[in-house]
Amino acid sequence: MALRKPKLAVWKFSSCDGCQLSLLDCEDELLAVADAVEIANFPEASRAVVKGPYDLSLVEGSITTPHDAERIHGIRRASKFLVTIGACATAGGIQALRNFKDVKEFISIVYARPDYIETLKKSTPITDHVFVDFELRGCPINKYQLVEVLSAFLNGRKPNTPPHSVCVECKQRGTVCVMVAHGTPCLGPVTQVGCGALCPAYMRGCYGCFGPKETPNTAALSAWWSGMGVSERDLMRAYRGFNAYAEPFRKESEAHEK
């Protein structure tokens, strides 16, 4: 008897769709992945919907509406493993910038009829609502890390995604440090690797799209930046990006908010 293929589901919450697009961007691997699993729910790619339970659910996006805060529980119950993908799902995303302000004011800036809009005060990561088996970081995620996570979960092993800083990868690829050599402020020392240390290789400072590394010393980095003449407001803004609501970045941004 043939073995049943594992059922893969992809779910979307508040997001730009870029992380699930990463799966379709695996042009060389897509048909092989589709051969190894049954794509049971992936509305961006297919009309077909297969009922749960699912062996692996990939969740993109953050929770921003009362309806979504309910919906995620149903997905958790239907999923053997639940993996969150991207900065929205793992940290609340860029839309978590509302968490620092009054959301009512935000609604009235964008929409003529605020009474038509239903939204929560805060944009929160999936892990604030349900148990998450693994978080894949990045804004956007790295597609090769995504293939690694799929392979790991389908084969019952732990994904190999390093938690160290962007600095390590700059050294590995032989990129000259933009902070030391050019005096360009860089979040690389406190940011988790995964992008391939892209920004310094393009002569700009890292802007933190993979979120905080494990045990980041943000205070020490901020002191360095201050010494380079970066203002308190600019420091606050630097941490308040695509992973603003990840705790180490949130706390550091608040330390520089006057």
């Binding site: 048909l31 297919s46 038509y116 802007y207």
Partner: protein
């Protein structure tokens, strides 16, 4: 009286979350709603107080499928505010990276999202079992577009190399040699794509649309030009707000745009093509003619042919730009903030993307307005559904529902963008 409802709770093969509801009473369509339940993300609000140089990176996050469009519109709007005009090789590189995004986004839509409708498959993966060579060609074509974006932008999604004033780093000419070889393959594959989609069966459908697109005296539009239509509109980008208005309707988290004087309008590949056919390269024009298209195309179901013709053009144009490229001395021009308001409008894969920013003397955003392509097409899509369902009432319900979905997908709607889109509910009364 007999009534029926077509209801699609979650539209598939579109980017983002939308639903569709069509109500029919007797022989009359009584309601059409494209619902957008994608949650709002408030970009225009949290841009306030951010520095100008952060705007291209932040607005890219509106859309993972067309981040370049947001980066380009943002850069041009801010440069307009600061009184800068980009010329020479940097302007050419911007055009080149946009070619990459058009190829990637159009190939995604033609092969993975739209073609399965014409051939009767739920998705491209199932289609690949019977049409493996076509799907593989589509994936490689998409990859070729992504390669342009990756080379110039650092990565395919949310590229990191675009800045106000130019780029952080520009490539040497020799870095393009492998890419140019792949683009020659891609241009042939795009011609094969036009031949392939031209064999599809298209429902008879036609409406008297107002097409709106950029038009430039010397080239097929990407980043610059005047906003023109086939019904007399001819304005500078900075006159956008005086001519277009956004309404907020109760069934949608997107705003719906309309022309103040005439109502709904149509943006995207078909509008660009129908207003700029004379600016396509001879090879792209010839491909269109051989697929049976005239210089104007008013059947939205044939948008898949137009998109394929635009892939031919984008490959052709990318090769031309690479051929003539000379590395500039500086990757960017210097920018000095000043108190001003700037306007930018560029041709995203799905149509015009308008940005307006007011800035203070430190280069902080005081006020932002962003109008994505899909919110401009919402009224037109609803209009198509009214007419399509009314003239196809005798079709079996399952098939009608699928064709309604297809009518929506004609526009390659990006709901994630527009929420800042749509659900087919055909609902019984």
């Amino acid at each position: 009286m007999k009534s029926k409802t077509i209801k699609v709770d979650y539209l598939a093969r579109v980017e983002g979350e939308g639903a569709l509801l069509v109500k029919i009473k007797g022989q009359q369509v009584t309601d059409v709603k494209l619902k957008i339940f994608e949650p709002p993300r408030f970009f225009e609000a949290f841009l306030r107080g951010r520095k100008f140089h952060e705007v291209p990176d932040i607005t890219a996050r509106i859309c993972g499928i067309c981040p370049i469009a947001y980066q380009m519109s943002a850069c041009h709007a801010i440069e307009d505010a600061f009184g800068i005009k980009i010329t020479g090789p940097i302007r050419d590189l911007r055009r080149l990276i946009y070619c990459g995004e058009w190829i990637e986004s159009h190939a995604l839509h033609v092969y993975l999202l739209h073609a399965p409708d014409f051939l009767g498959y739920e998705d491209a993966i199932r289609m690949a079992k019977d049409h493996p060579d076509d799907v593989k060609r589509g994936l490689r074509l998409k990859k070729a577009g992504n390669e342009i974006v990756r080379l110039l932008g650092g990565r395919e999604i949310h590229p990191i190399n675009v800045r106000v004033g130019g780029f952080y780093k520009v490539p040497d000419k020799k870095e393009f040699s492998a890419l140019a070889e792949e683009l020659k393959w891609a241009r042939d594959a795009a011609l094969a794509t036009v031949r392939w989609v031209a064999t599809f069966v298209f429902p008879e459908f036609d409406r008297d649309y107002e097409f709106v697109a950029l038009r430039h005296p010397d080239e097929y539009p990407f980043n610059e030009g005047r906003l023109v239509s086939n019904k007399g509109l001819d304005i500078a980008v900075r006159e956008y707000d005086q001519n277009f208005i956004e309404d907020h309707v109760s069934h949608s988290n997107s705003l719906q745009s309309r022309l103040k004087e005439r109502n709904s309008y149509f943006v995207g590949p078909q509008a660009r093509y129908s207003l700029n056919f004379d600016k396509l390269s001879p090879m792209a024009q010839e491909a269109a003619r051989s697929a049976g298209l005239g210089p104007v195309c008013r059947n939205p179901f044939q948008s898949i042919i137009v998109r394929s013709v635009e892939i031919v053009y984008a490959c052709d144009e990318a090769l031309r730009l690479i051929e003539q490229y000379q590395r500039p001395d500086q990757p960017a021009v210097n920018v000095e903030p000043r108190v001003s308001t700037g306007y930018g409008c560029t041709e995203a894969p799905r149509g015009i993307c308008y940005h307006r920013y007011r800035l203070d003397d430190r280069g902080l955003i005081v006020d932002a307005k962003i109008v994505p392509p899909t919110s401009q097409n919402l009224k037109t899509i609803e209009g198509d559904l009214w007419q399509f369902v009314q003239t196809h009432l005798l079709i079996q319900k399952d098939k009608l529902q699928w064709q309604c979905e297809q009518a929506v997908r004609n526009y390659d709607p990006c709901i994630s963008c527009a929420t800042h889109f749509l659900k087919l509910h055909i609902e019984p009364e």
